[in-house]
Each structure stands twice: as C-alpha cells, then as structure tokens.
Symmetry: C2
C-alpha cells in the first residue's frame, strides 16, 4: 500500500509515492500557483492522477507553508501562497480526490518524517529546522509531533534573536528568519560586500543567491565565508535556545541552504556548544537531515499513514 506525499513550496510543488516504510519510489514536480485556488487544486489533482495510474494510494499527505489550525484544519495564514489563506485544503481535496487527505505545516511534516524514518528514528525529543527561502521548524516531544494549543507551535523562525534587528515579513523585527535563511544570507552578503571591494561576490551582485555565496565561500572568498560564519552563529544561538529550553535529544537541520554542505552546521554546532548548558548540549547532537530534500513530502505521507 502507498501514500502520496506532497510538499507545497513557494515556487514549486513536489510529490512522491511513498511506501509504508517511508521509501520514495517516484517523484514529480509542478510549479506552484500561488494566487488562484482553482489553479492550485488543479495542479494537485493532476499530480495525483500521475501517481494513481501506477499504484494503489491509500491516503494523501500535504505539507503547506503557513499556520494550520489543528481544531478546524483551516490554513489560517500562508504568506507565500495567499490563495490557501483561510481554506480547509484537506476537506476540499478529499472531496475532489475521493480519499483521505491530511494537511500539515511543511516543517512539522518534515520533523515527523525525520522522526519516523530519518535522522531522528526512535528518539523522544527532537527539533527539525529547515532552511530555505525562510526558516521552518517542527518539534517532536515525547515521541509525538508537538502542535501546541491550536497547531501553531514550532515557529522558531519568528523567535527574536536581535531586539532591534532586521524587519521581518511577519511584522516583527529581529526574527531568526531575518538572519538564517537564503533571503537573509543574500542580505548579509550585500552588507558585508560593501567593505570588501575584492570579493568574488561583486561579479554576481545583481543575481546573488545563497547558492552563489556558498560557491564563492568554497572558492575561498573571505566575504562569502563570513556570511556563512555570521549565519551559522545565529543558527547556533537558536539551537542553544532550543537545547536550554527543551532539553532535546537531537536537532536536525535540512532544507535547500543546508543541502550544500556542512559550512553552516559546523559553525552552528560550535556556537550552540558555547552557549547551552554543558549536560544539555552534550545530550543533543546537531546533525544534517537524512531525508533532505524530501523530508517534507515523506513526513506528510507518514502523517497520512498514521492519521497523526
């Protein structure tokens, strides 16, 4: 028996056929229609059709960016995909597809995936941090996905790390996401470049991405390396906060930015060790995702499997 796992991102939708054990046998991708709900559901229905011909699908799990109400299943807010704002996407799709559909915040789905069949198998307490355009987080406590009172828990990206820091899309300022995300890294690079006219980054300044910063860092560009150090320092601070607050057994880092290697992870782990209580820090390795880049869709499929 199979499950369809779907990860809706700000620019593309990834879907995969996932078996009972969490293994992915086939993947398809489609661009995300962000402004038109009919267009979005049509894309999802088309993707479903591609898989339905190949295997018996028991249920569909969908990871979505944004806050999902646990009591009503409605997506309360989704800054990058406005058309699903206020929508009960799982009820809508269950009707269209004629089968059980479950939605969950994408980072929570990723955390669940890493816990079921990734880096955090068999653990009781872990956090999964996914660093892409923004920063998402899902938390497993006592071997269960922790959702909090209404389903909104895990918004580590919108915890303050600098009292008077950069303005954030959420309306606050100094949020972790303004320091640790692809978007944040480009901004940090632009700031640091100004004092370093020799940086390789000047050659690509008009099309700068986190990937280009990473490439330059690997080629020895001091400015690009400083961007990773600064970003890793803030990521380590956030990890130390999680460790001191929740006394976790593992922090798993995934997402597009981390996929490029352990440049961030090393700095982050060092900073976390310096800041957290030693007995708590020792108990909590900071590791790379094992399911990346498919944590979200695998986790969504496993949530559909478990009705969790």
């Amino acid at each position: 028996m199979h499950y369809l796992g779907i990860d809706i991102g700000g620019t593309s939708i990834k879907a995969g056929l996932v078996d009972e054990s969490g293994a992915v046998s086939e993947l398809h991708q489609a661009p995300t229609v962000v402004g038109d709900l009919n267009g979005l559901t049509a894309t999802l229905t088309d993707l479903f059709g591609k898989f339905q011909a190949k295997a018996a699908i028991r249920a569909v799990g969908i990871g979505v960016p944004g806050l999902r109400s646990y009591s009503t299943s409605v997506i309360q807010t989704s800054p990058n995909i406005p058309c699903i704002h206020g929508v009960n996407l799982e009820a809508l799709l269950a009707t269209k597809l004629g089968m059980p559909v479950i939605t969950e915040n994408d980072a929570k789905a990723g955390a669940y995936g890493e816990w079921v069949c990734g880096a955090g198998r068999h653990l009781q307490h872990l956090a999964y941090i996914t660093i892409g355009t923004g920063l998402g987080c899902g938390i497993i406590l006592h071997g269960k996905l922790f959702r909090g009172a209404s389903g909104y828990a895990g918004e580590l990206g919108h915890t303050t790390v600098e009292p008077d820091g950069r303005p954030c899309a959420c309306g606050s300022h100094g949020c972790l996401e303004t320091r640790v995300s692809a978007t944040a890294m480009v901004r940090t690079a632009r700031e640091l470049m100004q004092a370093n006219p020799d940086s390789l980054l000047h050659a690509v300044r008009d099309t700068l991405t986190a990937q280009l910063v990473h490439d330059a860092a690997l080629r020895g560009d001091v400015t690009a390396q400083a961007v990773f150090e600064e970003t890793g320092r803030f990521l380590g601070m956030a990890c130390a906060n999680l460790i001191n607050l929740l006394n976790l057994e593992m922090i798993i880092i995934g997402g597009g930015v981390i996929a490029s290697g352990d440049l961030l992870l090393r700095t982050a782990a060092g900073e976390a060790r310096r800041r957290a209580f030693a007995p708590a820090a020792l108990a909590c390795p900071i590791v790379q995702s094992q399911l990346s880049p498919n944590s979200g869709l695998i986790g969504a499929a496993m949530l559909a499997r478990d009705g969790a």
Copy 2:
C-alpha cells in the same frame, strides 16, 4: 493528609504545610546554608520537625535552584547552593526523615503548583516564569510537567536575547536573565542613571535593589520607569518567543520582582503582542501568578502528592 512543601532559595528556605488541595496552613522560614551539606540537611530536618508535631505528613516535596537529572535524581549543578552540587538530596533526606521525598527544580515546581491549583488550572500548555535574583521557568505541555530528555528543560533564563549582550553567570552572554532579573534591573538602573543626574536613584546608589527601583518608578522617577520599560521589553520578547515556539495557552509570571505590581507585566504583554503571531498571541494571556510567593513550595508539595 498533608504534605510538606519546601522551597530552597539562595538566601532562605521556606517551608509550608500543604493539604491535598494545595492550600497552605502554616509557614516557616530559615536561612539557607549554601556551603555545607550537613548544615543544610540539619536545617531541613529541623523544619520538618516543626511541622511533624502539628500534622500527619505523607511526603515531602522540595524545590531547588539548579539542574536536576530526571534519571538519577541528582542535582547536577546549582550555582547558588554549591553544597548540593552532585548530591542526590531526595535519597539523603528520605533516609533521614523516614518518608518519601521528591526534589525538583524550583521553577518547575512553581509551574506545577500554578497548574494544579493556581492561575493555570485545567490548562494543557503553559509556562511559568519566576523573576527573582535570577529568572527561572517551568513548562507544562499536554497537562504534564515537561522535563525534556534529562530533566533540564525550561532554562528560558539562559536563552539568548542579545547576541553580544551582557556576560552571564552560566558562561554564555546575552541570556534573558542578564536583562530580566532583580540583578539585571540594578545593572540597567546603574547604566541609565549615568545620563540622568536628577534621578532619585542617585540617593540610594550604594544600596540599590530592584525594590528601590520599583519604589522610585512609582514616585514618578523617569529613570526608574525606563528600567521597568527596558526590562519589560525583554520579558515581552521572551514571552513572544515562547508563544511562537510552543503555542501556549497561558504565561504566568511570578517571583519577587513581579510581586511588586504590574509595571513589568503591562510592558511585557504589549511587546509580546507586537512580536508574536496574532492567532497564537490571542490564545495566550500573560498573567500574574496566583500562588506567589508560595508557588514553588506549593508545587513541590503537589509533586510529592502526585509522585509526578
């Protein structure tokens, strides 16, 4: 049937006779012997004797400042009471007193007390923050005291709120406790006084305490009021972080500093509302402790009652 609740602080030990419902009928206090374990246990045994003559005591619960290992019951570290460092205080006292003794971190005990019979009765998810010489925190999740992997969870006071902030006794810097505690407020007052030669605080500069800052604020001293605003701003930031990360139903503030009124609470609540996601912030009132100043000892007694 009664329980003895004890709260060991850095300067004094408070003990109270607590009934099944959490009501306190009698209180005694004694100075804390911080450097000599025999002296400390003698004080505790004496206190126990005073109550034993009055009522049948079924078990003793003790709140201690510091990290307590959940698996071994040993106090791993206690900066203010070095003589209990590495000690299994509950086993030691159980032998001496001939009855069940349970120890727990003092702020966790306070959280449990507020949850059982204080401001947070019947809730599933809450945090209790106690502001005294330092800043402690206990978290209730899914209607249970959350301890994390080893019993060290809840160290909100040692989460970073300023990347390059004040040095902290824990070895890190920029910890919440360096901004929100009686000690921190005195430091903030000393900093702000320098630019305000007219402040009333100059008259008491050599014996400055958080209480004196509070008194001056109530008398209209602008510098003292600014200390409360600055402290409340950091407290609000920490509350917003808890709200966004854990989607709690309530944050309860207690401890000596907050007992003086709602000067901090108002600023903190406003700052938290500005920073946290609206649906999560709306679900989480920030309120004053109902059991203060006895939250810790009542909670410790209730932990002894419940064997929790």
